[in-house]
């Protein structure tokens, strides 16, 4: 698109301002993570790296971290399975209520987290008499993670022409082989991108988790929440936050690269450019 120099400059300014806005609190957290004082006045009196070593030593934080990882992996796995199944049905078949599936899948994330959390918690404790535990947390997370996988998968399936599957069937492959060698192969990177996004959602979730977690366990957000106002623990929380951001650069970048691999996929219309499924946000 041809833009005047002034328009281009204005656009660049808007982009810079938006990025500054996005990163400014993160920079603040970053600086506070090195703050030597426990009271969060500004500017910080001096800097220290002790919080990072304390973060590693903190048993509760470590356990919470691993619990979050466990929950995230399990929830993502369930979401991958259910999301893929639903996307295959919707993108490759026609049936009564097809449009409703998209609506249904988005509900857990569109409705207030507190409603989802309380509803699921109630059902487990009062109707099914199942005590709250990591299992119930995983169920809650999987429910709203389905949509992320589903959206990515449907977007990809729409781009992949169904003719490849028909050709595969014509060549004698049965349904499972067709799925495994043709459909799944084409969907793989979209699923991975969706899975990574689902993991991110689960990892950071607090509201639904608050209602579905058992007494003895903590996910990382729960741990952070319980320490947010404790002056002695807060600097460790900041350090933990910085660490999570740094560690997550890799999966986020991967998700994007995987989405981008498909630029040359068959069935994609003209116009190159970066694939956008990795960015099909919940």
């Amino acid at each position: 698109m041809r833009l005047s120099r002034r328009a281009r400059a204005l656009l660049r300014f808007a982009v810079g301002a938006a990025l500054a806005f996005i990163y400014f609190p993160l920079v603040v957290i970053f600086i506070y993570a090195f703050n030597s004082s426990k009271i969060l006045a500004w500017p910080p009196p001096s800097l220290t790296t002790e919080w990072f070593s304390k973060a590693f030593e903190n048993e509760a934080a470590r356990e919470a971290f691993f619990t979050s990882i466990k929950a995230g992996i399990a929830a993502t796995a369930i979401a991958l399975v259910l999301g893929t199944l639903a996307s295959l049905a919707v993108a490759r078949h026609r049936f009564f209520g097809r449009e409703t599936i998209s609506f249904l899948v988005i509900l857990p994330i569109a409705l207030p987290g507190i409603v989802t959390g309380v509803a699921i918690s109630n059902t487990f404790t009062q109707v099914l008499n199942v005590p709250l535990s990591l299992f119930t947390v995983i169920v809650g997370h999987a429910t709203f993670c389905i949509v992320v996988v589903y959206n990515n998968a449907v977007a990809r399936l729409r781009r992949l022409s169904g003719s490849y599957e028909e050709a595969s069937a014509d060549l004698g492959a049965h349904t499972w082989q067709t799925f495994r060698y043709v459909t799944f192969a084409g969907m793989k990177s979209a699923l991975i991108a969706g899975g990574l996004l689902a993991f991110a959602l689960s990892f950071d979730e607090i509201i639904v988790t608050n209602f579905t977690i058992g007494a003895g366990e903590q996910t990382l957000p729960i741990w952070i929440f319980s320490n947010l106002f404790r002056p002695h623990e807060l600097p460790i929380v900041n350090a933990v936050a910085v660490l999570t951001i740094l560690i997550s650069i890799i999966p986020v970048y991967l998700a994007h690269r995987l989405g981008g691999e498909d630029a040359a996929a068959p069935g994609r219309g003209g116009g190159g450019g970066v694939e956008t499924e990795a960015t099909a946000v919940p």
Binding site: I22, L26, L85, A86, I120, D204, A241, R257
Partner: protein, 284 residues
């Protein structure tokens, strides 16, 4: 054995659909919707004032309370108003950057920007809100930044809530708009320019209408996430949002909380239906 099973599905699309959907639909309809229904039906029951236990006699008293006490109307309106404001704010901030990413940036720039936008999603929601709490506090960073020029931090309150919500959900607005703008073929824009339209006219009459569904898609998240959140209002203000009142009542007056919960649910379902009509579901 695997072959036999696969053969069973061959040429039986109905069976395929059924098998594919059994899991997800079972989970979502029986599990999720069923749980919701069980919760929401308590809105029609009442509660024993001492024990806080739900008493199963049907009554509309909870809805009466919600309608008659002005405070609940104020709270709902406050929440909806904030959600709208946040959505509009985010749309305005998101559009230029999404446009830049989709149509102006180089291939590498695009990749960097996408990663750059996604990264903050990975930092803890709680830590981000708390960072804002310290930034906005009366001797926090904003105060330090603005007092030399005679201004001051807005402190805690509605302004803070609006700021923080706009901040938190911005990536959820940028990405769908970016994806939607990406889908607009460059050829359309070139054609518009070839036909003599100024960049502004091209924007107004070609780009904006084509990207509108994507904006609506993004707005689903900014709107719904604001509508239900109770943590941010609690951390950076004294204001009660719908989520706060539900949270405060869920323990000892579940029927009232459930009745109030119906409001955002109804609002969101209506919003989703409108969004679907506008084509947003293709862009989510």
């Amino acid at each position: 054995m695997g072959h036999r099973l696969a053969g069973l599905f061959q040429g039986r699309p109905r069976l395929q659909v059924g098998a594919l959907l059994a899991g997800p639909v079972g989970w979502l309809v029986i599990g999720y919707l069923g749980s919701l229904a069980i919760l929401l039906i308590t809105a029609f029951w009442s509660v024993d004032p001492l024990s806080g236990l739900v008493v199963k006699n049907y009554t509309l008293e909870n809805f009466e309370t919600l309608f008659n006490e002005p405070v609940y109307r104020e709270i709902v309106w406050r929440t909806v108003r904030t959600a709208l404001l946040v959505t509009i704010t985010d749309a305005i901030i998101a559009f230029p950057i999404a446009f830049y990413m989709a149509k102006v940036a180089s291939r590498r720039g695009k990749a960097l920007l996408v990663v750059g936008i996604l990264l903050p999603l990975w930092s803890s929601y709680l830590v981000k809100v708390y960072a804002w709490r310290t930034i906005l506090s009366s001797d926090g960073m904003l105060h330090w930044l603005l007092s030399p020029i005679g201004l001051d931090t807005p402190g805690y309150g509605m302004t803070a809530v609006w700021l923080v919500f706009s901040y938190l959900w911005l990536p959820y607005m940028i990405l769908p708009i970016y994806a939607g703008l990406e889908r607009i073929p460059d050829s359309l824009i070139s054609a518009s320019e070839d036909l003599g339209a100024s960049p502004f006219t091209t924007f107004r009459r070609v780009i904006l209408p084509l990207s509108f569904p994507a904006v609506v898609a993004g707005s689903i998240f900014t709107f719904s996430l604001t509508l239900g959140d109770y943590i941010t209002p609690r951390l950076v203000s004294n204001e009660q949002f719908i989520g706060n009142v539900i949270f405060n009542n869920i323990a000892n007056n579940q029927p009232l909380a459930a009745a109030l919960a119906l409001v955002p649910i109804v609002v969101m379902i209506a919003y989703l239906l409108v969004a679907r009509k506008l084509g947003a579901f293709e862009h989510v």
